[in-house]
């Protein structure tokens, strides 16, 4: 049981969702975050005030999966999120100690396996 965290470009978020869906991975959380991963700064100008956008908008996916789905989830994040330019993001996989499905009280593998799967 692992928590797969993927940080990707916002404009690729839909591609990642599609890829996860195709890989049969269900149960996803995503949040909008800001960060910096070494990409070139974007320059914007407002009425003569020039600013460097040091932090770029990113989307953070969190997917808790049972062991057989770890590779599928990582693969989907990489496939859906890649453009080839600096700033495509990262995928982190961390071990998961416990999981509980609130509705039923299912724990661990049972909790991260989608209903009906």
């Amino acid at each position: 049981m692992k928590l797969v965290i993927g940080i990707v470009r916002p404009e690729k978020a839909n591609d990642v969702l599609e890829a996860l869906y195709r890989a049969q991975v269900r149960g996803v959380s995503l949040s909008r975050v800001q960060g910096h991963g070494g990409e070139l700064d974007r320059v914007e100008t407002y009425r003569g005030t020039t600013v460097k956008m040091g932090l770029a908008d990113k989307v953070r996916f969190e997917v808790a999966v049972s062991e057989p789905f770890v590779e599928a989830a990582v693969g989907a994040l990489c496939e859906g999120g890649r453009t080839g330019e600096v700033g495509d993001g990262k995928v982190f996989v961390v071990p998961l100690e416990r999981a509980v499905r609130i509705r039923t009280g299912d724990t661990d593998e049972g909790a991260v396996t989608p209903v009906g799967a």
């Binding site: 800001q34 914007e44 100008t45 407002y46 005030t49 020039t50 600013v51 956008m53 040091g54 932090l55």
Partner: protein
Amino acid sequence: MDITLLAQAAKIDTGDTAWMLGATALVLMMTPALGLFYAGLVRSKNTLNTFMMCIAAIAIAAITWAAIGYSFAFGDANEIIGGFDYAFLSDVTLAPKDDESTIPHLLFFAFQGTFCIITVALISGAVVERMRFGAFLLFAALWSVLVYAVLAHWAFGPGWLFNGGTLDFAGGVAVEMASGFGALAAALVVGARKDYGRQALLPHNAVYSLLGAGLLWFGWFGFNGGSGFGTGVNSVLAFTNTLLCPAAALVAWFVMDLIRGRTVTAVGAATAIIVGCVLITPAGGFISPGWAILLGVAGALPCYAVIAFRPRTRVDETLDVLAAHGIAGFTGILFIGFFAQKSWNALSDGLLYGNAEQLLDQVLAAVAAPAYAFAATFILLKVIGLVMPLRTSEREEALGMDVVQHGEEAYATGEGAILVVPEGELEGERPVADVA
């Protein structure tokens, strides 16, 4: 010559002139209002670009109109195109244009110019979220002269539709059908957005759209009410019809929304206001207020149908200019052929009042204007496409046109933004807050 002398000599009417000054300003306001309406309908990352296309239409079309557009539209060379008589405002003076006019020629020019501007802005709705800004600027300049001015000559100026007896009060031909069917051509040439048909592309702020539609309606009182070029009975009739017809269209839209989706929608209401205003545009000064209400209800049907059907096709005519303007303008033009009433307009009756010939004149306009607008726009964009790319790369489209085309964002938070201080500036005079 002294201005008062000039006015007396040419029978300028102060009341007419006062109203037309106000009406001109009202119509100009419609273009930023349209920008607001359109901006609400696109995704947040394209807000500024969408709005800027409308602002660009003001910049470009006002200048091309002064340079050559007005002359092509209202010059008297032949019945197809106006020639160069008024090019660069030559002979456009403070005296009236002709014996029937009671306002300065220069004011007539400005009023007509605002129509050209909004028409160019309207067509941008077909290509938002992917067309390059530079390509749009060139397109706007050429389209305003080669398409708008020509159709304005046909229907308003001494062109063949006008001379043949076609009734078009405020622009069913040159504004509504030109932008609507031109938009269809533009959507076909530029092509669909990359996510079209794959993802749900939703309006990001329906409040903008409702406010924009409301301001458009407000401006439309100048658009239709000013198209009688004075304070005469046709102007008053058109003004009142501009109140009634969109209201009727709104009611009809509510009912259709209820039947189709069991709720009355806000984006639908904003669209209905536009549709109602467009429907009454050609017919405003020619039909009775009662028939204007019927036009609002009956005309809403085909527009609603096209808006419901279009997203099921591959044609990404993004903001439905064809449905809201092309189809509505077409319907309004034909409606005159049936319901025009000499007792109200002092010009001509429609079929219902025994004059079948008027319907024939209207059909002619309803066929010729869409055909020319579609073909000319199609060819024009194909030619521009040979000179420069019409749209941005897929990656830039994904990033959003605001950042890519303008280097700005509509909803910049400032978080993570680092001020770039030009070298050598601000030395030794740092803001007080920083010192502490």
